[in-house]
């Protein structure tokens, strides 16, 4: 165990060291400054602006125009992806001769990738052409991530706006710069590092022994953009996606790089680095607790193993613990770290079967999801979700001390608080209502695999994950029947596909609209000078308050439901 904790601590130390570098860089990129990379991607950037007829220096959109562009762009992406998935028979690069997806399954998949969720009701290597994977799905992996970053940046601009009537910037410039300066270069280098270690990268056909494909290029952005949709059905557990202990850490690094650095970017752009670190500290504290809990729980093993007469203790040459569904090269520590990180950041990539986690070990991912992307969260999404909770904390703190709540000199009034409440309630509401529909009607039954509380865990996990745009799963839950490899004779479970798709779309775009509305409203406010009675938001006290608000809301909303699934299993040694 000490070895495992050393591994975890060292990993976090490396990541924290990278935060100022990456966070500072992104602050410069989104302030429109010239950086080293401008020499390389500058011409391409200007070409894109020309194509889009955007004037980067002058265009400044109000929140409604910004939101309108975002919605139109996402709708165009959805439609293109849906068409690609439905026309596989005429694709180039389809050596497996896979048929097109069914309409309901394609609805689920298109909604899933446009919303940065990457919930997968399909098996990649047995149903999708290389063209669908790299020119359909991977494109949305980039663009949905860029959209998340754009919203976060727009919110920051709303907070720092110093003159009335200012806009939030240009959506088109923001996604272009997010793509060209942040996502593409890192994904490119990341892909080459991964391929050098054994991740596949070929357009050739597979053989009798294993499937192949352009995996590395997709793997890098799947993690960097906190998307999570694997080329292979078993995701990052597959050696061809994640071959060694080194690539496992490298992939975790890619996942955390942007979500961990954005609070620093925020601090720098609002001119108060302590503020950025305060947000960071609240996120980091929650992540460290969840990694520790899942690691301790997994090292203990499960009732099923103990009752089978298996010894789950560690001894010389064996890690012990719950190795069910885990890979030897990652061990219990690497599996636990990946599980906590991927569910906290809304990535949803997995390096083990989450359904095989122990009761308490499985409770942690659900608790992370219940925190609504505030534990670093998705790229961009994590920062703006946490800032919503920060506004809520400021409001509650303001009520306690009897002052008008402020964040960084901007007064928070009734309109903002109403919007904040709407933005923070959409996700839990979507998760719980969808779960209720799935377990309360007969239509959810065909999707469930396991008996007893585990079956309930599968259902609630499915809608919790889709509502949080996470994409990880207790994978027994299915929305798809596939009698043999390929889509021939396959059909979707329409109820699960549609309910999930609508959950993902609603829980992604409604909060974005509310966040942009808040940004627009904050942009119009004058900055009040800080006085004696101003509640500071960059102190340890505020960090505790912020964590308290997140935990309280998450726990109060989901605890009753979670009792019926993982908590029951964690507290009993009974088998079902």
């Amino acid at each position: 165990m000490p070895q495992g904790f050393l591994q975890i601590l060292l990993f976090f130390a490396i990541m924290v060291a990278l935060v100022p570098v990456m966070g500072g860089y992104m602050a410069r990129v989104f302030s429109g400054e010239t950086v080293l990379l401008t020499r390389v991607v500058g011409p391409l950037e200007r070409l894109i602006y020309k194509l889009l007829r955007v004037r980067p220096a002058e265009d400044d959109q109000g929140w409604k125009a910004y939101a309108g562009s975002l919605i139109l762009f996402s709708a165009a992406g959805w439609l293109l992806l849906y068409l690609i998935l439905r026309t596989q028979t005429i694709h180039p690069w389809n050596p497996g001769d896979f048929h097109s997806g069914t309409w309901d399954l394609s609805f689920s998949t298109a909604s899933s990738f446009v919303t940065n969720t990457n919930w997968q009701y399909y098996g990649g290597e047995t149903t999708l052409s290389y063209f669908s994977q790299m020119s359909g799905l991977a494109v949305q992996n980039f663009l949905s991530a860029a959209v998340g970053i754009a919203v976060a940046v727009a919110l920051i601009r709303g907070i720092v706006a110093r003159k009335t009537g200012g806009g939030l910037g240009s959506f088109w410039v923001d996604i272009t710069r997010a793509t060209l300066y942040v996502l593409l270069p890192i994904a490119f280098l990341g892909a080459l590092v991964l391929v050098s270690q054994g991740v596949l990268q070929t357009l050739g056909a597979g053989n009798d022994l294993f499937a192949v494909g352009p995996v590395g290029s997709q793997e890098a952005i799947k993690l960097l953009g906190t998307n999570g949709g694997g080329f292979f059905n078993v995701n990052s557990a597959m050696p061809f996606e994640n071959p060694t202990g080194f690539t496992d850490m490298f992939e975790l690094g890619l996942i955390l790089l942007i979500p961990m650095s954005l609070p620093y970017t925020f601090g720098k752009m609002v001119g108060n680095r302590r503020q950025g670190w305060a947000i960071f500290a609240a996120m980091a504290a929650m992540l460290i607790v969840s990694v520790t809990v899942v690691y301790l729980a997994e090292q203990h093993g499960t009732p099923a193993q103990h009752m089978a007469g298996v010894s789950t203790r560690a001894f010389d040459g064996s890690t012990g613990g719950n190795m069910e569904g885990s890979e030897q090269r990652f061990g219990i520590a690497g599996t636990s770290l990946f599980t906590a990180v991927t569910t906290a950041t809304s990535t949803g990539a997995v390096n083990s079967a989450l359904e095989s986690l122990s009761g308490i070990g499985g409770l942690v991912p659900m608790a992370n999801l219940s925190a609504s992307e505030t534990i670093f969260g998705g790229v961009g999404t994590g920062l703006y979700s946490m800032l919503m909770f920060a506004l809520l904390a400021v409001f509650i703190g303001g009520l306690m001390v009897g002052r008008t709540p402020e964040l960084l000199g901007k007064k928070i009034e009734a309109r903002e608080i109403k919007l904040v409440v709407l933005a923070t309630l959409v996700t839990p509401l979507a998760a719980l209502v969808s779960t209720a529909l799935a377990v309360g009607t007969k239509y959810g039954k065909p999707s469930v695999y396991a008996e007893g509380p585990q079956g309930f865990s599968e259902s609630i996990y499915a809608y919790l994950s889709q509502a949080n745009n996470n994409g990880s799963a207790f994978a027994g839950y299915t929305g798809y029947y596939q009698p043999e490899a390929g889509n021939l004779g396959a059909h979707g479970i329409t109820f699960a596909d549609l309910l999930g798709g609508i959950t993902m779309l609603g829980a992604r775009f409604l909060p974005i609209l509310f966040v942009l509305a808040i940004a627009g409203s904050l942009a119009k406010k004058r900055v009040a000078p800080a006085g004696l009675g101003t509640m500071r938001t960059d102190t340890p006290t505020f960090v505790f308050l912020l964590i308290g608000v997140v935990v309280l809301i998450g726990a109060l909303t989901f605890f009753p439901a979670l009792l019926l699934g993982p908590v029951v299993q964690g507290l009993t040694t009974r088998l079902f």
Partner: protein
Amino acid sequence: MRRQLLTAVVAMLAFSVLLGLAYPLVVTGIAQVAFPHAANGSQITQDGKLVGSELLGGDYSRPVLDAAGKPTEDSDGEPVTEPDPRYFQSRPSVTGNSGTATYFANRGPNQAATRDLTRQHLQAFLELNTPYDAGLMAKDVPVDAVTFSGSGVDPHISQANARIQAHRVAAVRKLPLEQVDQLVDDHTDGRFLGVFGEPGVNVATLNHALDQEAR
């Protein structure tokens, strides 16, 4: 609004060409030139024929023969197999070690079915190995040997698992135990920088090396 719609469509197409064609094709080109072995699946070949991948745990079983020396079939017409004692066995796999269609076993922590399967795995492991390692008890069996791997093609087994199986492989192949133990050490992948990941014995390369030795 109309102009924004046009912009959205043009942007989506432009980014699709850049991110969906140029990016993966350039990465593929570089990968095929710089890392051809890795990019094509780290293939293991024997006499020019593909026999596996260094990164995938294979299926090391053999057909069960009846009295007449013919392969037996079960009621579904599928051939019946048993672990081939000459090879180190991969971890249990729900997919039959398939690298073409992967899926998780999805065995829950409190399921009676999980207990039963795990118990079967334990008995099978003991049956296979106790004839060659008389003192072997259930409590000595490492947990990785009796639980489904995540990918179904986990190439590694724990060092403890390999040390137990080495007795069998050495006896069946009539090799000195020291020589097999040495091979196990040679095919053990350690932690990255001594810290990251868990050590594991690569079954795919180890078994291939055993076969090479025998030739």
